[in-house]
Symmetry: C2
Amino acid sequence: MNEQQRKRIVILGGGFAGVYTAMHLEKALRRRDDLEILLINKENYFVFQPMLAEVVSGSIGMLDTVSPIRRMLPRTDLHVREVESIDIENQTITTTPGLHPHPNVVHYDHLVLALGNVTDFRGLRGLPEHAIPFKNLGDALFIRNHVIHALEEAAIEQHDDDFRKQLLTFVVAGGGFSGVEVAAELNDFVRKVIRNYRHVDQAEVRVVLLHSQDRILPELDEKLALYAQKILAKRGVEILLKTRLAAATGDLAVLANGMRIPTKTLISTVPSSPNPLIDALKLPKEKGRLKVDSGLKVEGTENVWAMGDCALVPLAGGGFCPPTAQFALRQAKTAARNILAAIHGGERKAFQFKELGKLGALGHRSAVAQMFGINVSGFLAWFMWRTIYLMKLPGWGRRLKVASSWSFDLFLPPELVQLKLDQSTGISHEHFEPGQEIFREGDLGDRIYIMAGGAAEVVRHDGEREIVLARLGSGEYFGEMALLNQTTRNATVRCVEAMDVLSIHKREFGLLAANLPAMRESFEQVMKQRSMANENRLRHVAGRGE
Amino acid sequence: MNEQQRKRIVILGGGFAGVYTAMHLEKALRRRDDLEILLINKENYFVFQPMLAEVVSGSIGMLDTVSPIRRMLPRTDLHVREVESIDIENQTITTTPGLHPHPNVVHYDHLVLALGNVTDFRGLRGLPEHAIPFKNLGDALFIRNHVIHALEEAAIEQHDDDFRKQLLTFVVAGGGFSGVEVAAELNDFVRKVIRNYRHVDQAEVRVVLLHSQDRILPELDEKLALYAQKILAKRGVEILLKTRLAAATGDLAVLANGMRIPTKTLISTVPSSPNPLIDALKLPKEKGRLKVDSGLKVEGTENVWAMGDCALVPLAGGGFCPPTAQFALRQAKTAARNILAAIHGGERKAFQFKELGKLGALGHRSAVAQMFGINVSGFLAWFMWRTIYLMKLPGWGRRLKVASSWSFDLFLPPELVQLKLDQSTGISHEHFEPGQEIFREGDLGDRIYIMAGGAAEVVRHDGEREIVLARLGSGEYFGEMALLNQTTRNATVRCVEAMDVLSIHKREFGLLAANLPAMRESFEQVMKQRSMANENRLRHVAGRGE
């Protein structure tokens, strides 16, 4: 058949909903060639979410929980790109540029929106800058490597007890399945490998789980949730209930109840928001999710379909589907059938499915499960968890690899390799709370700071006496002296009112200063003035002191 | 024993030389407690170099070829930091700051320098910006992910044949063991997985190996090297001899003979240079390597030892040790013995060792070997390669994992997951050669460019006619319009004389422009002037055209 006459179905998103829709559509391709399927996803792999927490602890290999989409979908075209915009009127999708900047626009006849949701820290003080989400493989690897980094630093820090304890404190916000699983795996991992760190005391390790309600795991029966709490507490996880994250800095988790937990590792699985691409669409929505009919077609459209976490899918018995993989898998089947019916004619089907059960792993051969109305916990639930999810993994190759990783995990110690994935810390936003030191006199100068809001004071110590040299506000910058002179910090800068800053690493600052003479000159000028002002101020204070 | 009285041996470098020296020293710790050993390395793992190329092809897992140093050296302190400076006079080492910027200085009684060498592109036009080294695990993972990225882009590029071919061209410079192994593994990998890319033709794949001499593998007998060349050529590797890389851009490998190979993937294993830290030391050196006596003590010192690739170790029969793992392993044993003799008294030993043989893998169950003077090639050599190196891997756990990866590799297809390791492309240097387009009219604007040298012209197309709008030189910048206005490029910029530029991604540029009003204003001003000038110029040209 001529390429022009083919109907093109474009699927956005490579999670359970998107990939399994393509899989069901591919079956039709065996019989006819009047269709083509294109899936657009920002990664070339599908993530099997239930095992993601095990990547953090290394009980499975780094790639064991992901599958290359190309191998799952041999008859589907795959574009590994981010979606830049969706044009419903002209039926086109624009993707971000790849290795060269020419724009890439694709046309669709039918569009499937399966973009899921995102962890969204916007509007939460300091969280966008300092909290780590736990959603995809990149997050899991980042967390794993960051935790090992913190342990390595703790091993070096033999004198500053407070800082070492801060390095050994790991905070997870959100007590749903995903938060509980990551806290449990992280706890197991750290307590196991800490033995390899000489001079580091296991007693100094803290793993804290925060949850806003009065018990964790709201998805489950109270009895199971309380069992899970007991198990986690026994293994050393501190559970803080009825509180939530209010703010974060690079050194602190600030809770709504005022408590401040010094930490270098803050993971947050909440709050969830719709994908910004869905947000931008002018289609009927409720609570940010797309309104679809029982056949998964978006209301008011003829060729746009939505499912998974980004859609509000009505259930036959009333209510809406929860955002879980079980539902997404079945929605995919219904959607594929109805899209084919829309193209070739035929009866459409309404989505219906009764949930089979819920499973949550607690690490260390323990889990909780609710299956067909029966509660199971402990080793039996853990065995069910492993068996069921192993069978659900796509492809025999992957199952074999996971089974072999699990076997090794029985007698070999967990992996302890820290991969430095992101070399450059470049240019980034940072948030500080009152009382925090941005840097101390005598520190090595590796960043400069430009203030976007808040207030700070510059102080220098003269023996016991503390001399305030200056107060800084929005638009001012600091930290440039140590960079330009390649020496250590000659003063301490302390946050007075909650501050948002842009910080630039010395590498990037050097590149900019070398290539933008105007920028360098302006920094040098301010530096000179400050140097003189500081000297005067110190002379003045010293004079008074005599 | 009191901490103060203990002698501290500090080892710099976690390669074969450093780790095995610590291992031999640890044996002495079993009997006495008057010693402490500290190893400083920038990673927390030891890399088993011989298998690194297999990480590129995925025939072993990503972590299979590395071992956590802590587990190899349970009685040694490990500081995972980069060394900032070495002070021989005061016997101290300063390391870079970790998760907080307080300086870290350690004192030594004996110092072991085992810092290896580095791939050094300095002074080679465009190589520091665009060539990928192949030295450590990070490089191997980067290459692997970059190659998959290029394949993904090739799958999308169905219209621009030249660009697709460029994406499918992979160039490796350097025909020693390391270059040959990476070219062979890369070639195997790409030709195997290309089947999963619909609409991409295997015939378009090019893997090119460059070598400056008249045959590859100078380490081996000519007969074996010619055999290796035949095998590689049969598998589709193009071998270009008697030429070398002269320059590189993001789109080109430029050879010394004038040939230009369009590629997005340029790997170079040459040239090697001494570690910059060794360079900076005021100790006797020859060809950049530290001069040591037959006991591995650095000439003119009493407590500084050197070995491995950064030292020039004399051989008993005359000449010097080649920079290979076999020698480093034996040097480590001698050095450990002599350091202990220096501390506790006793006889020192002179280093001596006769090389056992050489092995090089050619991928796809083939290798070349020279053992005890006998040449072996093909399957038998490959079998020897695998057996010998599997046994040399440190630790039974690691051996088991590699053996299981190799078994899976017999019947499962290679991993195809692309990890996006470095999200931000930030601020970077780029190099362009005359004739290259930096961007084209109509492209998406994702970076701005500041010229550090060379010349470019700005052109716009009016139907068939090309109008030169401006000529740009050092210190000028371009590409800012599309960023500030969030539109596509309104002109093409082409390199006229070889250019070095600093390019800033729109994310970083946005952050800087938002926080540095002076910078934004200066850009906006130039933009306004240019906009007006361009309009005048176009009007003028249009007028003449009528």
